[in-house]
Assembly symmetry: C2
Homo-oligomer: 345 residues x 2
């Protein structure tokens, strides 16, 4: 019997149909490369030069509302605009088509100094409520078929402003990553008449070795096929196609588990942990997406410490993603971390 804890192997991602290369024996490799800066900053609750703080002026010349709760607005430098006429271009082997959409910025809090792990659960609940509102309203529009909610946290993740905020990019076509999941989820649904992710979660709840946090309605785990060293997925145990059908109790639980996971993240290296997170949900194209089961994933870049990250470069770009520590090792580390934020002690 081959020991996968000590031998290179590939694992299959049931949600995308792709593989990840795992090289557990490689954790011994010394690191002499680039180290990230550790920026430990005390931020004020209000920063007059921040373009996301309430009442301040933004680059586009707009002025922010004097918001007291989570607040959203249309991105001044949107990658997607909704006034693009539909057109297709084809000439020989060149193929393109216009893309339209709406990009929004979601401020999580008026308080410049906060991040999700140090916000109150009730405040995170309000963020979820705003996500629900935006998802509902954007998804209703006839030319919006996919609504992508995400957060880039930390300078390492291309985030240009530390004010707690995320983004929503909603668009006409179904993007690649979602298409892959559409296919896998639907195929399983058609064959088994049950949720692929739901069945997977049940399996993980029994095995326990990749669990991080297990609440009444939600679970946080390191997926078996995780790519990023400390990748985590949060998902409702019961099948919900989107965040819109959560009950009040479930939404509260969702807020709690987001706080719990991000606290563990910060505690890992005792810094404000960088990541990109995103919620994958059923498309809003009016098609039958019975098979969908929403989930929120966190892709954090750090590998060994606050300063050494995992580089997804050469081999990963040209061949396939590769990781050193196994999902089980990562899960164990995260699970054993304190539930209270390190700054609160």
């Amino acid at each position: 019997m081959v020991d996968f804890n000590d031998n290179s192997h590939r694992r299959y991602n049931i949600l995308t149909g792709e593989w990840v290369l795992v090289s557990p024996h490689r954790t011994k490799r010394p690191w002499q490369g680039k180290e990230e800066d550790v920026v430990v900053e005390e931020r004020p609750s209000y920063d007059p030069s921040c373009y996301l703080c309430p009442g301040n002026e933004r680059a586009g010349g707009h002025t922010n509302e004097n918001y007291k709760e989570p607040w959203s607005f249309v991105n001044d430098f949107a990658a997607l605009k909704n006034d693009v006429p539909q057109a297709k271009f084809k000439s020989g082997l060149l193929k393109a088509e216009s893309e339209s959409g709406i990009c929004k910025v979601v401020c999580f809090s008026p308080d410049h100094s906060l991040t999700l792990p140090v916000m109150e659960v009730s405040e995170i609940e309000k963020v979820i409520a705003l996500w629900q509102h935006e998802f509902r309203e954007l998804g209703k529009k006839p030319d919006i078929n996919q609504v992508q909610i995400f957060e880039n946290k930390g300078a390492t993740m291309g985030c240009s402003n530390p004010h707690p905020h995320g983004q929503i990019w909603a668009q006409r076509t179904i993007p690649q990553e979602v298409s892959k999941k559409n296919k896998q989820l639907r195929e399983y649904w058609n064959n088994n008449k049950s949720s692929l992710l739901g069945d997977y979660i049940n399996e993980e709840l029994e095995l326990k070795e990749r669990l991080i946090v297990d609440t009444e309605f939600f679970v946080a785990l390191v997926p078996y096929w995780a790519v990023w060293p400390y990748e985590v997925m949060i998902s409702p145990k019961k099948q919900h196609r989107t965040i819109l059908t959560l009950s009040a109790e479930e939404r509260l639980d969702y807020a709690k588990i987001i706080k719990a996971v991000t606290i563990k993240y910060d505690n890992l290296f005792k810094i404000s942990f960088p990541y990109s997170s995103g919620i994958h949900q059923a498309p809003t194209d009016g098609q039958d997406w019975d098979s969908w089961h929403f989930h929120m994933s966190f892709y954090p870049p750090l590998l060994r410490s606050a300063t050494v990250k995992k580089f997804m470069v050469g081999y990963e770009m040209f061949a396939t993603p590769q990781r050193d520590i196994t999902a089980e090792m990562a899960a164990k580390t995260l699970r054993n971390l304190a539930d209270e934020h390190y700054t609160k002690k």
Copy 2:
């Protein structure tokens, strides 16, 4: 008629079957985020502490040969090993299988101070000759079905040692990125009995707007579907499945165009330009790969300057790659740069 130079659109990658979102209007966005360090270092030709310099000791306790020409050895911390017994694991929705292979390091030169753009064409030719040798020998092994040659250049690209070197990871299974191309190339070949990439190159040679360098046997261009801001592809005009069938003249030409492209890269921001490059070639699995047409791609992370890179984060991770400057804008910029290295003036 919609102007794709000014409106968001998606472009189709004929080689992978995937799409990239292009947002040309977004180039006006101000940047207030993370800036990379510019490390301008004068390196000595020999560094006693470098584990890749001739005669030095490596981390694993091995001693480097006193090599005078490009030289390769097996990676001391290989992600892939060839002594892994084949095994498959399946339990419920968990699926894995062992993966075996060989990882090698290819030192481009004994001279610690060099990089490809400042090496002589004849020296680059010797690097290509070593790639050919490795590709041939590794590819011959019965359990090696894919040989990935690549280079991570610069600290930003996870390169932990500035000594000029690349890597080769050769393995049993066909990795994801290559599988996508296998499918697209073969489909086109079956339908048209000609090389998809060859036909595309002919189209670009006529259009000219995405060309960077055009030599007798090779062309360097920014592909229509480029993802990275200054992505470049080098490919032979005539169909070669792998680098093994190049004539002596063609190999010389290949060396010349690698030098020409990397010089332009360095001249762009007057720094040693970081990138990951990789050569995609026909698998070595003994199957019929008549449809293959080898090409070398460069994925450089920098966007606006030596310090501002493009972050492939939130939206890119959860949805689809996105770029701001168009392939045509990038090609024009690169094409117009001097052919001589900026340090040589």
